[in-house]
Amino acid sequence: MNKKQKIMLARILAAAALLLILGFVPADGWLRLGLYLVPYLIIGYDILLKAAKGIRNRQVFDENFLMAVATIGAIALALAEGSGDYTEAIAVMLFYQIGEWFQSYAVGKSRRNISELMDIRPDYANIETDGRLTQVDPDEVAVGTVIVVQPGEKVPIDGVVVEGTSTLNTAALTGESLPRDAGAGDEVISGCINMTGLLKIRTTKEFGESTVSKILDLVENASSRKSRSEDFISKFARIYTPAVCGSALVLAVLPPLVRMLGMDLSPDWSTWIYRALTFLVASCPCALVISIPLSFFAGIGGASKAGVLVKGSNYLETLSQTKIVVFDKTGTLTQGVFEVCGIHHSEMENEKLLEYAALAESASSHPISKSLQRAYGKELDRSRVSGIQEISGNGVTAVVDGHTVAAGNDKLMDRLGIPYIPCRSVGTIIHMAVDGDYAGHIVISDVVKPHSKQAIQALRSAGVRQTVMLTGDASKVADHVAAELGIDQVYSQLLPADKVEKVEELLKHKPEKAKLAFVGDGINDAPVLRRADIGIAMGAMGSDAAIEAADVVLMDDDPLKIAKAIKISRKCLGIVYQNIVFAIGIKLICLLLVAVGLANMWLAIFADVGVMILAVLNAIRALFVRNL
């Protein structure tokens, strides 16, 4: 509770106590009014002041005005009728203030909750000077400085480890609880928590450009992009209050006039004025106006906790309507790293063949030769290799340990006139020939991510109707991956520009309401990410381009998170619609009951405050996304 809230609580308690005591005080006439005005002014003086100021500033129709008119009117009626029942007016003001107090408390609480969720801002960086550690503001650390991160501390700035090994907890960034190992030469990202060992890190970015700053900036500004629901509510509130005031006036004046002039009955002014005042009390739009932005705020907060950063309420809304998901293949559904996954028809030991291949390719920096070297796994002795000849688009020939070795594709074998055994596996095939004889082939292919298949199924059960994969790869490879994962449509052998074209084609043919999401790893997908209804970049830790271009950023590269993001958005939007329907529905019923005289002011204020409290509690539910 802050100071304002404490004062308000004291006022509420004081007014309630006074009201109770006054119930036992026998007083009549003006004395009674005077006594009752004390709790009324304690609880409502600020509302009256605000209403007066509103009138002075020509901002007449707001909640304060409604409450002021309703309560003063009720007191005036009680005075005119001589009933002396002032309790009602005070109670209305009291309950209104209780509602406001609760709202302010709940909003403050969820504000704190969410900022705690995103409590990844590092407060300091350690710099070693003359053997002693000094803490400095991370903003002041220049690029290239070596900083020291002790166990238990947050990595404040992106950089490369120069000394030490440790495990890092990335949960705050990715929602992934599995820790990562980091050693000398590894890149580390700010916001991770160093768990075990001391790390010395050479910074590669300024604090403002580091991952943690970017994320905080993104999250803090997220709810500034408003969704259509929020716009609807602000517009609704703008016409609603004047409309209600007008209706109340009509309710106060028209029926008595009709009774008097048309039906020859007594006008019964006080009943109708009372109903009009009750109408004003029941009409406060607070439940709506507070609960919608609060739902979005909680939804975005909950999503960031799960490692899904949504750049605005509008994107959360679009995400919830996603029916078509288009994937980039490499790096999104597959690891994007090539691995040796088979050695066939080898005339010698597989190990030996791999050794020859790795040595022959040792001079190349091509991803294929990298994966051969990785599969071989041992240090390469380059002195064993001589006479390396690269034949572009074919492969290499070299002399290894005195044997001539040729490693390359079909074309190379044709060129050398060596008969080879074609391979049925999918992937890149490297045929090997040693001393002019065919020695077998090695299959290298991109590996599907462990969760990809599950992710496609999860998307389906989350209501996605169509999954499409776009890739620059050969159709054989693409079809194989798509069949394995259960993807509906595949377009292969696409250049980056073709991808944009394909997405535009898909956008043209889809129904208006179904939204299309594109998921990419963000490295060369920026134009497509922008073109789709909603662009999702994954594995974005450290990639600024992706964070800029995408609307939704998945902090790690697990494709299951896509379905999770959609589910979070559905839940949040579900809550938003519940609140809109619930709040407007109850309001309308209440107004109707009041107009026909079935509800009094007590019921009206209970309905108003009750709906608001329920709507706020419902909104906070959007924060809980763990089990989606």
Binding site: K4, K50, K53, G54, N57, Q59, D62, E63, E100, Q103, S104, V107, S110, R111, I114, E220, N221, S223, S224, R225, K226, S234, A237, R238, P285, C286, V289, I290, P293, L294, F297
Partner: protein, 72 residues
């Protein structure tokens, strides 16, 4: 040019009113008020001094919602 200001306001509807008032101020190209993070993001029109514009924004906001504050 875009700038972010910290604000103080009690209710969501008042925040909407502040946003409306800020948008109508001369020299403001666009303005959003984020009630949940209590921030006002103002984009200034070409050739206007942010300081002078913000003084006016603050004045206009005070007019629609007396109980608000913009920390300039």
């Amino acid at each position: 040019m875009k700038k972010t200001y910290k604000i103080e306001v009690d209710c969501a509807n008042c925040a909407n009113k502040m946003e409306e008032a800020a948008r109508k101020t001369a020299g403001v190209a666009a303005a959003t008020v984020n009630f949940m993070t209590l921030k006002m993001i103002v984009e200034f029109a070409e050739g206007h001094d942010p300081k002078a514009v913000m003084e006016q924004v603050r004045k206009n906001c005070k007019k629609v919602e007396d109980d608000c504050e913009i920390y300039l």
